[in-house]
Amino acid sequence: MKKQLASLVWLVKSGLSALLVMLACGLATARFGDGLPLPSTQTRDTTLVTFDRYVHQPVPDVILVGSSMAFRLKEEYFATPRLRNLAIAGGSPVTGLAIVASRSALPKLVLVETNVMSRAIDEALVTTYSAGSKGRSSFLRPVKTLIAAYENWLHAQPSRAQLAQAFSDLLRQPPSNFDNRVYVDRALQQMNSENPAAVSTPNVKALEKLVDVLEQRGAHVLLFEMPYSEELEGSRYATVTRKLVHGAFPDAGHWLTLDFVRDDLRWADGVHVDERSGLIVARAIDHAIAPYLAASR
């Protein structure tokens, strides 16, 4: 009996200390907020951090949704202020669009990258970030926060002027001469081996519905395609997907026309643009959406 009592005291002490730690982390979040960007160990982490910011901050003017192809377009590449990139690496543009459509306040302009339509909607992510949800846990993560603070101290965020200088330096450099042949061949083989029609059709239908909902609520929705490397543009996956999406959205007014010099672009793996090319595409998007934003003011 005495032994069991001592055990219970041990368990109570243990439980109390666990509660205290949780309480401290909960209060720390309530007091200081969770604005510190935590280090991302995966591209998905980066996506979640972006979605967290989207949920907690004022609605941006422009939202971009898409797959890993548009994920490469970092928000800082754009000259357009108040633009949020909700593209999901390894995900579907329909997921991002469903989250945007579920929120009460909409942006003026929604850009949808339509290269990858074969991935199903991520219902868990939609539930986490849809209307009424505050995103992920509101408890402070002590270890990740510690590292975030250390990394922020070590590598302070560059100012807008510094970023602009770095980007203009990057654009002045010649395109990369990285030999991606082995990756292009592999991607081509994979993209020719699968016919995405069956799996993509319901997602394209879902896209149609969501675009309709958003437009009825007053948002302007524009679709665009990220460029593939030349070899992959004609692959079965790319052509079938393009045909499906253009079939669903035949009106040219739905499409954003991007103007860039294709020879300037490079792809690390034939599919995803490299940093310099991402910058070029982002600038082309800036240019293409400017009239729409001007008209909405």
């Binding site: 069991q4 041990w10 243990s14 439980g15 990285f178």
Partner: protein
């Protein structure tokens, strides 16, 4: 149902309460059997008949073997046949083919997925057959007892592999007052912490080891990741084993320790006395010693080591990578064996540290074959360790974060637990409580236990 799901927490709590209710005390064994069947059938109910067949068949052969030992090899072959059929059939047939033979019943069997935990419960079955028929003649144990030994839910899907001779005598009425509550809580908290905080977070980083992502890494990051995977697989499996041991203690059973600071091993033979100890013991008892062990001369000893390690590798999975992993471990054991005496005679801390580092690096590099079961991919990764990365935009790995995720394993291997028990005993409950909170707050994205696939 995995240990880290809320469904399991509810399930375990309900079974625990019912288990110690006075009116149900007479049915404790039966209750655990039913609970274990529910646990197993929760995700794959279609595999319950297979489990029943495996246990029922083993019991049948046990009863016969107890009166005539000639039935013993038949029972062992029955179990090895089950393992071979379910584990290695996909070496010979395409699991995606709609029709395999054209005979519906056979096609149904051929298309059944790998039953979770089959490698573990088949080893339990063989242990039961060998241990209980080895001594003087005794009446067969009850069917419920046999079921409990084989399918006891804390150890059903990934061990520790408990020998029948150790488990069966423990089957007797249990009282709540006999539970080592603190010890069980410590095992469970440490287990969850290692799984959720260490293994799941490191898994996020080591996912870059997958093909083709590893090709985008810098060479130094490829090296870093194999070390991280070494920590991850330890934390994952140690975590699972610790939870299993703690849970079993809550129900009054003691399972064997599965890990004893394996990365402090100064030789490969020592490593195998510290890593997955219950499997090593099983292989030694039921394979290495029956093959002749080290009693038949040097050459035969080396051959036995290679056979045991090769089969041990194949036990993990049907693939060239697992076989290569086993053979390479066997080779390391064979190579070091003649020098062990000389190595042990050098009494120097520095030299021991060097030996520990060498063993750690070799073991860690061989984990690549676990991480990448496709043999070509594993070889590609190994080659990438010695060639410069060419990707202009390699992914960024946070080394400081990686260090903090590995720290619990490092601290544990520096024997901090002993220090705590000796000098900081009064702080122990607070420390374990904080550990539990940290496991929740800093849990990495949920992933299945690595050893569930075996």
């Amino acid at each position: 149902m995995t240990f880290t799901s809320w469904q399991f927490a509810v399930f375990a709590a309900l079974v625990f309460i019912a288990y110690y209710l006075p009116p149900l005390r007479r049915f404790q064994v039966q209750l655990l059997v039913v609970a274990s069947l529910l646990f197993y059938g929760y995700g794959q109910p279609e595999l319950l008949p297979l489990l029943a067949l495996a246990v029922g068949g083993t019991y049948f052969f046990l009863v016969f073997a107890l009166s005539d030992r000639r039935w013993l090899p038949v029972g062992i072959i029955f179990n090895l046949g089950l393992l071979a059929f379910f584990k290695y059939k996909f070496l010979f047939l395409d699991s995606h083919a709609p029709i395999v033979t054209g005979i519906p019943a056979i096609d149904f069997l051929l298309k059944l997925p790998l039953p979770i935990g089959i490698s573990f419960f088949v080893f339990h079955n063989i242990s039961l057959l060998v241990d209980l028929t080895g001594g003087k003649k005794a009446p067969p144990p009850g069917l419920a007892d046999v079921f409990l030994y084989i399918i006891f839910f804390p150890q059903l899907v990934a061990g520790p592999i408990t020998r029948a001779a150790m488990f069966m005598p423990q089957i007797q009425p249990k009282r709540f007052s006999d539970i080592p509550l603190v010890e069980a809580a410590k095992w469970i908290l440490v287990g969850f912490f290692f799984k959720l905080y260490v293994a799941n977070n490191l898994n996020e980083m080591t996912s870059y080891m997958d093909f083709p992502f590893y090709e985008t890494l810098q060479t130094q990051d490829r090296w870093l990741l194999i070390v991280l995977y070494g920590f991850q697989i330890y934390a994952d499996f140690f975590g699972y084993s610790a939870i299993a041991i703690g849970l079993a203690q809550l129900f009054g059973y003691r399972l064997p320790i599965n890990f004893d600071l394996p990365y402090t091993s100064a030789s490969f033979s020592e490593f195998w006395t510290r890593w997955h100890i219950s499997l090593s013991n099983w292989l030694r008892t039921y394979l290495y010693i029956p093959l002749g062990g080290n009693r038949l001369g040097k050459f035969r000893t080396y051959l036995n080591l290679m056979i045991v390690m090769g089969l041990g590798g194949l036990w993990h999975g049907a693939g060239l990578s697992y076989l290569a992993w086993g053979f390479m471990h066997g080779m390391l054991l064979v190579i070091e064996r003649p020098f062990l005496g000389v190595l042990k005679s050098v009494n120097s801390t520095g030299f021991r540290a060097v030996r520990i580092a060498v063993v750690f690096m070799c073991v860690t590099m061989l984990w690549i074959f676990f991480r990448l079961p496709n043999f070509d991919h594993a070889l590609g990764y190994l080659a990438g360790l010695f060639t410069p990365g060419t990707n202009p935009n390699p992914p960024k790995l946070y080394r400081d974060l990686a260090l903090l995720y590995c720290l619990p394993v490092i601290i544990q291997h520096l024997r901090a637990g002993e220090l705590m028990e000796r000098r900081l005993a009064s702080w122990e409950p607070y420390f374990y409580g904080a550990l539990g909170a940290l496991a929740y707050l800093e849990a990495g994205p949920a992933t299945a236990f690595i050893y569930f696939q075996f």
